[in-house]
Symmetry: C2
């Protein structure tokens, strides 16, 4: 019998009725002759409400304890889903991250999976059970409960599929992967297939469908990932190796990311040691920097800007204080009304001129950009949030997305 | 440094504000030079709301999954309490049942602690941390999460204290142990001290302050258990070895239990095999029988009554069906408007006449009783719920409670 890993996100298990519907969907697949491993996230807004309880206790709660706290969200979902299987007459067992052998390392709230000890999962599959695994969590070598960071349930699912050498199906509240976020650009097209590389790029650039790490894992182990809507039977998107059927387009997608905080350190004395100092300090707070830019030196001073996630803003005051202790003349400012747009496509590797095309579209529409970065298969721009809709419409139209 | 185990119940950690207050209370004790182990229950009504989610999925949810589900309640409390310690500048770590080495065996939802592997707790105490342990839960030899049944957090606390050879302090929403439940008899007196034996008897008879098993453990390992109110500084009750200071009273307390379901099996052919069959069947459903009575045989038939907890009522229909398959003529009836009153006192071992005294009080007040049982230090009566208040007032007054 083939094993199938199915993952259901928080919205898909948001209510008891939805959990029952998920159980029926899994059973349907099992009845087709498959062994089922089901990964679930926390119900709906559970994680958010747990985090807000923590914030009532401390503005910056201890991260080891935060992992202990939020991991209960998935534990609730797995228990309820497994109960539903029992209720429908199917043998089932729920496993927390540690029971499923999911080993992690790294910083609390941002762990990565190092290995999965499949013995327990395989034992229960062999006994004919539907195995329900808590997404998003694992255990580190100290025996602490850890989490993989937001969206980590996808990673759990793909990692399990990689280890079990089987397909991974991600069920969510959207129909699949779109060329552009349909909430922003209503005429966006759903893609039937997309390459791992393009999907990774789109995920890392903020397309909310899947987390980058999960796609990366699929790419590494060549595990096909099928993304589709939980309810109904509409065909979704297959994420797989790049092949000729995907060719012919230079740009596959446009991603929009609103979770951008731009920090500018003004009046930095122009020495490379100073620039290093800034990013040392930022690194010490485990902040992932996205784009970096620097003004031309003027009277021996420069302004250094970088972007990061808005959720890192709590650390900025502390970083400012530490930096000012070393460089009293500097000043920090932050802007949060920023959006990042990125165009993505494997075709860009063979064809140049995409950047120029985008610059022209921006110029034609009076849109100023703040920063630009490029990768092999993408170009990203930060712009003012107020220009976002105008930019998306213009780009999507011109690039036929 | 002396180790102290403190346990805080669900009401004591029912809100974020209360969790902060508990943290401050523990810190006060630590500052007196103690190493602190803190056991907590789930916040307020968390357990109830988790169970009601489970019941929406199944009227009789899989018990292994129910343990998986409800154990999240304590996991949330320990994480939040540990965060509060960190926020106040104290090093702390929260441990789930499995992380605290609490090993259990038995049936899911009704497990018992078999041993505690203290290595993890001791390691963290040695590092100066306040160790916060999830009450009510453990892990069995399959690696499944288990729970100890309602009130099991007390057992966790006393078991930890027994293993650490230290005092156990149980903080709750009442001032201590009363001679009679003050919600029913407002003139009831708080006891300064009570023997393990009397407390066990009172707990098992339904005095809500502590669970029997917890007191039993304290008795077995001679661990003093101090019961007091969480908030404020009023003196509570010390549960300890019987000594001369407790002498002089025949009756220490009167307990009232409303969680009584009386099942009567009518028209049973009078053979001992048949009576055995009934209790076999009941035993198979893990129902704890409390009192048993039987009518005198009439035309070769008897009626057999027994009492159990109301929470076992779900199994009664199934038991009736199974019994009728063997004895088609029987009929089952159940009564839930029943209360059980018990008078408890070690002094009863030396003085007789308590039963007669109670029967006289009942007769004087026109109260009929349904069943009577006695132990060395207690006598229990089931009566109609409608007579409860009258009986309590009369007994408490006559016995000077």
């Amino acid at each position: 019998m083939a094993v199938v890993v199915q993952k259901f996100g928080g919205t898909s298990v948001g209510t008891i009725e939805k959990i029952k519907a998920v159980a029926k969907k899994v059973i349907e697949r099992k009845e087709q002759g498959n062994e089922m491993v089901v990964v679930v996230s926390a119900m709906g807004k559970t994680t958010d409400s747990l985090i807000s309880m923590a914030k009532e206790i401390s503005p910056n709660p201890n991260k080891r304890e935060l992992d202990m706290l939020v991991s209960t969200g998935e534990q609730i979902s797995i228990a309820l889903l497994s109960m539903a299987f029992h209720e429908y007459g199917y043998n089932s067992i729920s496993l927390t991250g540690f029971q499923a052998g999911i080993k992690t390392e790294g910083h609390h709230t941002k762990n990565t999976i190092t290995d999965i000890d499949l013995r327990n999962v395989k034992k229960h599959l062999k006994e004919g059970k539907i195995v329900v695994v808590a997404g998003f969590q694992g255990i580190n070598e100290n025996g602490d409960i850890t989490t993989l960071g937001r969206g980590g349930s996808d990673t759990t699912a793909v990692a399990l599929a990689a280890k079990l050498k089987c397909i991974c199906e991600i069920y969510t509240d959207v129909e699949g992967v779109y060329s552009v976020d349909p909430r922003v650009y209503t005429k966006a097209k759903k893609l039937d297939a997309i390459s791992y590389e393009e999907m990774m790029e789109m995920a890392s650039l903020g397309a909310g469908v899947m987390e980058t790490r999960a796609v990366e894992l699929g790419f590494k182990y060549n595990i096909p990932i099928y993304v589709a809507m939980t309810h109904g039977n509409k065909v979704g998107t297959m994420i797989k190796e790049y092949d000729e059927t995907m060719e012919g387009k230079i740009i596959t997608g446009l991603t929009i990311n609103d979770d951008v905080l731009m920090i500018t350190v003004n009046n930095v004395e122009y020495k490379s040691r100073n620039i290093a100092l800034i990013f040392d300090m930022v690194g010490k707070h485990n902040i992932n920097i996205d784009m970096i830019s620097q003004t031309a030196p003027f009277e021996g001073h420069v302004n250094v800007s970088f972007t990061c996630s808005k959720e890192d803003s709590y650390a900025i005051a502390e970083i400012a204080k530490a930096l000012q202790a070393e460089m009293p003349q500097i000043e920090l400012s932050q802007e949060s009304e920023i959006a990042k747009l990125s165009v993505v496509g494997i075709g860009m590797m063979k064809q140049s001129g995409v950047a120029a095309k985008v610059f022209n579209i921006f110029a034609d529409n009076n849109i100023e950009f703040k920063q630009v970065t490029t990768s092999e298969i993408s170009i990203s721009y930060t712009i003012n949030s107020s220009d976002k809709q105008k930019a998306v419409d213009a780009l999507a139209k011109a690039l036929e997305l």
